[in-house]
Amino acid sequence: MRQLKTAVILLLLSISSGTVICQETFPVNGVADTRSGTYVFTNATIVKDASNASIQGSLLIKEGKIVAVGNAISIPKEAIVIDCKGKYIYPSFIDIYSDYGIPVPQRTGGFNFNQPAQLTSNTKGAVGWNQAIKSEVNGVSIFSADDSKAKDLRAAGFGLVLTHQKDGIARGTGAVVSLANKADNLVIIKDKASSHYSFSKGTSTQSYPGSMMGSIALLRQSFLDGQWYKNQSSSTGKANGEGLNLTLQAWNNNLAYPLIFDANDKWNDIRADRIGDEFGVQFIIKGGGNEYQRIKEISGTKASYILPLNFPQSMDVEDPNDARFISLGTLKHWEMAAGNAAAFEKAGINFCITTADLRDSKQFMSSLRKSIEAGLSETKALEALTKVPATLLNIYNEAGSIEAGKWANFIITNGPVFNEKTDLLQNWIQGEKYEIKDDLTDQIKGNYSLVINGTKNFSLDVKSSSSADVLLKDTVAAKFVSNGKIVSINFAETKRGKKGYRLSGVSNGNNWSGTGVDSSGNAVWWTAAFNKALPEKADSAKRKKTYHSGELTYPLGNYGIKETPKAETILFKNATVWTNEKDGIVANTDVLVQNGKIISIGKNLNNSGAKIIDGTGKHLTPGIIDEHSHIAVSSINEGGQSVTSEVRIGDNLNPDDVDIYRQLAGGVTTSHILHGSANTIGGQTQLIKLRWGANDEELKYKGADGFIKFALGENVKRTSSSANNRFPDTRMGVEEVQMDAFTRAKDYENALKGPNAKNVRRDLELDALVEIMNKKRFITCHSYVASEILETIKVAEKFGFSINTFTHILEGYKVADKMKAHGANGSTFSDWWAYKLEVQDAIPYNAGIMHNVGLNVAINSDDAEMARRLNQEAAKIVKYSGISEEDAFKMVTLNPAKMLHIDNKVGSIKAGKDADLVLWSDNPLSIYAKPEKTLVDGAVYFDIDKDAAMRKEIANEKNRLILKMLEEKKSGGSSGAAMPSFRRVNTCMDATHQHGLLDIHEDENAQ
């Protein structure tokens, strides 16, 4: 019964289209009405595909497919002829990144630090452990055509889309469907055509993963789990101890399809590609529109891309106080975004174009035209909408060009498809016509001979369906309306005269006829016949807009640089040099730097090729090394579980963080980027050099030992949450988490060495812990109070390793002797305290006591602002504990280098070491000292004079762009409200230091 009803509705809906294909198994209510839909489109300019020249000819279709195309095809008698004179025919477009017809899942609840954590998946069934891995979802099973959405896409020229559910980190498969208004069964072109991935956990309410690096780790582990499951379950379909896991089963199966990764941002694109490289797969990457900013790196991925056209909207910048908060980077992106596709073309990267991310698919064509104005060739544009997506989905044999045997999916236009004045008239999909816009004007435009009562002749210029002139002595504008069939004409014989006619009639093609009345009320009859075409107006239309944009900088705007600084040969003359070597602080000394290294230190050095920098009255020191920093990353805390040793800060570096530059301006050259303190065993850390303008890989300090962050105390037991349910809730529990983790790791390591090794599931979490036990990875442990410090030392010793560094360590002074015996370093703050219970006994004498007990002590920042004044923080140790200035300054240079195992390369001024140097205006421990030059690897990355020049450039560029935005508003462009450019600043949870007004603290994994 229900089936019957559906069939009726479908019949009614499709009554207007050409082909009615009966579904074999579906009963028909009434009389069968199957038609072949044989059409021939003649006299058309046919663009079969982007790479071949267009032809003048005909296109024959039947039963939804193309039968023939060419200029000499034989036309069967039964074909309905559609004259396409003056029309163009193109293959319909294909959107490879859509969720057309697929329900958008809604998230219920979400992670909130103050709420209990959700530690297991809410998905029912024999599925995997993580709610964000939804490989078992098949787009085709939840697809149902939605004609209201299809209509908009058809209007934009699309015939096919690849649709999938945009939810989760693994999203299952996608299906290729047509946008025809037919039964779901008939529009599905390919049921499993792709497999989809992203970094966003979407509607998953499970706590893990709660960070970018967590998402990456989860993907990595899923690849490994899939492999393991496949090996384990090959005979039985189930894995030992795992049972049936539909998610992993699907994960494995889905790898057979084209793999599409929704990355959405230039750095994410690269991150996604790296995961693919790791597991031998190549993702097709859905970009975010900012790839042009790093096109070289994007090109390096060798991936094909899917590009959205959601260019940033212009903002209303009339109010200078609002405009002030829009950063230069935001403004420049506004100007340059349309050039993204052109940048891909120029770089020779394969790409297709999607309507995804547009607020409205009606914007598609105008956005595409903007891309073309910005340099994208029309050939590439067409290819990116037809052949490329079809090829990527392995359906080019079915769609993507106008060739015999392929789906009859094509659009008819009244001009070259990307021209501004061209209209899309019809979109034919699976051989059925969808009217988009009538071409009435084209049809009726022309000069007509109007004859009234058979005697009175007028010349009528019909300009459009609503305007016409009658040519007498004067040219008189007539009131003219035509809907293609019914015509009405109302005109006066002279411009100011009252004498005239009101005519009404019907058009029969080129001949019109009808009746009317004259101004005296007498009945008349009339005819009109097409005479000739109107002369084409000379193209006085708008000159083609010239696309102009400012210069690309790395990163874009906001102190970005145009060129990577090069290592120079520099001779510092006559400076006070803080060597951190046995010579100590030496006055009137020269330092020669070449090829990124320190060459020599001494008096009266000479080098003819060197740039001389006068250091008279100035101090030259090694660059500052910050042992504990959270800058330059996309996420910092993975708090979804108590043990997350599988996550890696290095997976999600963000080289665009302006704090890199700001800290260079404070003399910092190396930073140890730590995972936050949300959990007992946090993530793997990343050492970077502050190479401003570099990419994420280039930021990394190469060849350094790997570290990992551990944490103890209040943060890991989630003290500030009133509803903690994540173990542990006490320091007793923290110790048990450590014991459990290393016990599991020990068993795992043994199992890997045992006879059954090949059946052991590779576990990235335990791998990192095994590395620690084998002294291949080192711990920096967030810690405060004496009890937890001693407890952790005991656990480490039990498992045969030592804690490399206790960081924060504000009660280190209480157990400094034990730390020393254990062999730990202490990295602390100069004078923090009282911001929580566990720092009630924190004292500014801590560093001094630890130093005096003989520990290697560093002063770190944990704070993006304070990091630019670490020299002053070191000075406070002189103030409070009376240690020597030389020893104090080592606490931010050589000592952290030692604890990071890089003191053979950095941390002191010694021949052969990296030329990471700072020239200060004054004694670096003085509050009055400013870095004038900061060198990394012998290249000047900060120069106080260049900085001054850059400030001026920034101001000028910002002003230029604001004026441009104002101009755009004046000329009628739409603009949204001025939105401040907020910035996320990562902290470790403990820094309560105030940052800028636009900085949003990202200290917990609130998602």
Partner: protein, 434 residues
């Protein structure tokens, strides 16, 4: 008999005291006290080298290079070769009402419920025994304005001196200012940051409406307090009384240009003495602030710039802009990780970026006193004022040289022992460190 208090004796206090519990508030010092031959930084921009300060019953009586020191029972501090400064003033802090930030709710008394709390007084919750206080004195901070926090009108602050048995003893000026926390006019996108907003809500507009409510409230308060006979008592409106007779100021906490310009309304429409607290963006409108006579308390110098493309040192340079425009301003240290102990170094940073050292000093002494309305009694080392004085071995603005050896509040010698020094001594003993 002359009593010479050498440095060694002053420091000896540290090792004899066993816990902060035995650090006693100093009794009133009756009689004469001389601080001899110091390099006196007056606090008003002047430096008087080799100058002796004569203090009588806690008040500064005179300064001079050749003041005669009587031979009878007077106390003399030899400050030869040392730097002498007025006691530093925290112009906006929550010391004494917020002991352990955040995580320990029971220790926090700085934020009351509700939007309309003009009758709430910080001084009533002030804990004169806070462990933090002594650590601040060690860095030269002797007076502070203790401010409540909250939404809209949060209550009134009082100024205290940091050496007292109880809040009554500590009180230096009662109900210094009423605190209005202006809702932010920063445009925010729905869902950005912590607070979710409905998409159609314009937060800036909502903020303007709330600001209007505050204006309305104060207008009603004014009207209420002008009534000759009150039939119904309204404690909230009553509490605003001193705003209108100008014995209390209105501290408006805000940062954006438009917020600060709205603060002008409270001067023009309501005739109040307004002070802007925060003022991150004050460098943009310094001449207007001067024109409207609105002082500024820069809450935190050590801050990142507002915008990514701002000058990287903009917050450090802001005081110089205000100074040049003639705006009365104080520098504060609102850092939550260090409880404001780096007040002098915040000023030092301003000195590194354009202020003269004496101007920077003035921003944490005399200017702060003026803004708090206590400059008749303190803020500078001038005859007639309370002897609130610190002595440092070197430049107090630079951590490289700042070492406070003596502090006096109303002429009383302050015991500079603090919890941190005691713990330092305790563990130096453990490790036998000299």
């Amino acid at each position: 008999m002359k009593k010479y208090f050498s440095l060694i004796i002053a420091f000896a206090v540290v090792s004899t005291a066993m816990a902060q519990e035995t650090v006693y508030p100093a009794p009133a010092y009756k009689g004469l006290l001389f601080i001899k031959n110091g390099n006196v930084h007056v606090g008003n921009g002047q430096v008087l080298p080799n100058t002796t300060i004569k203090i009588n019953n806690g008040k500064i009586e005179s300064l001079g290079t050749n003041l005669p020191i009587p031979m009878d029972d007077v106390k003399v501090i030899d400050a030869t070769g040392k730097e002498v400064y007025p006691g530093l003033i925290s112009s906006n802090t929550n010391i004494g009402i917020r002991e352990i930030s955040g995580a320990v709710r029971g220790s926090n008394d700085y934020r009351e419920l509700g939007d309309w709390n003009p009758n709430v007084e910080s001084i009533k919750a002030y804990n004169a025994d806070s462990r933090i206080i002594n650590t601040l004195r060690s860095n030269g901070i002797l007076l502070a304005n203790i401010a409540p926090q909250g939404s809209l009108i949060a209550g009134s602050s009082s100024t205290v001196q940091y050496d007292a048995w109880t809040w009554e003893d500590a009180l230096y000026k009662e109900n210094t200012a009423l605190h209005f926390y202006m809702p932010s006019l920063m445009q925010r996108q729905g869902g950005f940051g912590r607070t979710q907003q409905t998409p159609d809500m314009d937060p800036a507009k909502a903020a303007l409406n709330r600001i209007e409510l505050v204006k309305q409230f104060l207008k009603e308060a004014k009207s209420y307090n002008e009534q000759s006979i009150k039939t119904t008592t309204n404690l909230k409106l009553e509490a605003c009384k001193n705003l209108f007779n100008k014995t209390q100021k209105l501290f408006i906490h805000c940062n954006l240009v438009k917020e600060m310009l709205i603060a002008v309304d409270f001067v023009k429409e309501l005739g109040l003495d307004v002070v802007v607290v925060g003022g991150s963006e004050s460098f943009q409108i310094a001449p207007l602030l001067k024109q409207h006579n609105i002082p500024v308390i820069l809450n935190q110098m050590h801050s990142l710039p507002t915008s990514e493309d701002d000058d990287v040192d903009q917050p450090f340079k802001t005081p110089t802009v205000l100074q040049k425009a003639g705006v009365l301003f104080a520098i504060n240290d609102a850092d939550g990780n260090t409880t404001g102990r780096n007040l002098a170094f915040n000023a030092g940073t301003a000195a590194a970026y354009g202020l003269s050292k004496e101007e920077a000093l003035q921003a944490i002494t005399l200017n702060a006193a003026k803004i708090l309305g206590i400059d008749k009694f303190t803020g500078s080392i001038e005859a007639g004022k309370d002897a609130n004085i610190i002595i440092s071995e070197g430049d107090v603005l630079d951590m490289r040289s700042s070492k406070i050896t003596h502090a006096f509040i109303q002429g009383r010698t302050i015991d500079l022992t603090d919890k941190h020094k005691l713990l330092n001594e305790r563990y130096k003993k453990k490790y036998n460190i000299k």
